[in-house]
Symmetry: C2
Subunit: 167 residues, 2 copies
DNA sequence: ACTAACATGTAATCTGTTACATGATTGA
DNA sequence: TCAATCATGTAACAGATTACATGTTAGT
């Protein structure tokens, strides 16, 4: 997320935090102890350049810039998105947010297709021994709701991806 | 999840792993280094009792039981579910899975109502400065899809919860 | 004068991942 | 006999949370 938002332009950490929190489900808090060390790591890896505002003490803004290496790394990560990045909805939504940064339309659609393949593999959350239980069989009202909600979500996303790929 | 599944009956760690992985999104792997130390912590807290199978070495099964303290703790956690447990879909789905364990229907519905309140608060993932951007305005196709999918998901879940509370 | 929001950082602690390590059981 | 699955654990490392710590700016 840091690299992705920095690809939209230079900015300081506090601004990043706001954007990350908004994207992260409009309540999810990202703490200082997560954000600033993460920025430091990205800087040590050469993905981000930090520039201190002149004349101020510790309170001054630090302008962050995405380096060429950082941009290349970001694109590599997006292009190669697979595994948990495809499986985990939260992670995939982050990938989606920045997927347009990939210059090649074919690469973008390849990511979408991997997500679609995952969504199309039949899944069951609950089992009776080894036999998967279908939503209609679930008697527990909350587990039933869980399955029905998950199914509606999946259907909506599949429809959208198919439409997107076909267009 | 460990306490929740143990509430369904005594079982050993490997069985728990299978159930946790199934519930956790049919791909999400839970590693040994996560599961066994977690069980140890629960045991140290007195929530879980471990009983080694007699006669075997390290390979023997350890039967795990939920203690009375553990059950009470589990119910307390479910009843008090709020914050991230309500906000984060993955966490909330775990709460939902075991919500029926709460003996009082009113407590169950109170949790559902907190989730509904959260889902009803208007949210935007992207901003133009301070102004929230509506899905229809979003030009980026993937961010647009993200917003439309999230909206469909939210609508399905809200409809289900309202129906459940009314019934 | 005070408060909220802006802005950045560190230290202690906890938890998760990865890789390593052992051994039993079951079926081809 | 070989591989897969069952079954449990540890050690090194990375990352997240919480709490602490500092200072500025803008509005009331």
């Amino acid at each position: 997320m840091v690299l992705g938002f920095l690809a939209e332009g230079r900015q300081h950490g506090y601004e990043l935090r706001r954007k990350i929190e908004q994207l992260h489900g409009h309540t999810r808090r990202i703490s200082d102890g997560t954000l600033y060390p993460a920025i430091d790591r990205l800087e040590r890896n050469g993905y981000v350049a930090k520039e201190a505002a002149p004349g101020r003490g510790r309170a001054g803004r630090h302008t962050l810039t995405l380096t060429d290496v950082g941009r290349r790394h970001l694109l590599d990560v997006l292009r190669a998105a697979d595994g948990h990045d495809i499986t985990d909805a939260t992670r995939f939504f982050v990938v989606l947010t920045f997927l347009s940064l990939l210059p090649d339309r074919a690469d973008q659609h390849a990511v979408l297709r991997r997500r679609l393949t995952f969504l199309e593999t039949p899944a069951s959350f609950f089992y009776d021994g080894n036999r998967p239980i279908r939503a209609e069989e679930v008697v527990d009202p909350y587990r039933r709701g869980l399955l029905l909600t998950a199914r509606a979500t999946s259907a909506a996303e599949k429809a959208w991806i198919r439409e997107e790929i076909d267009s």
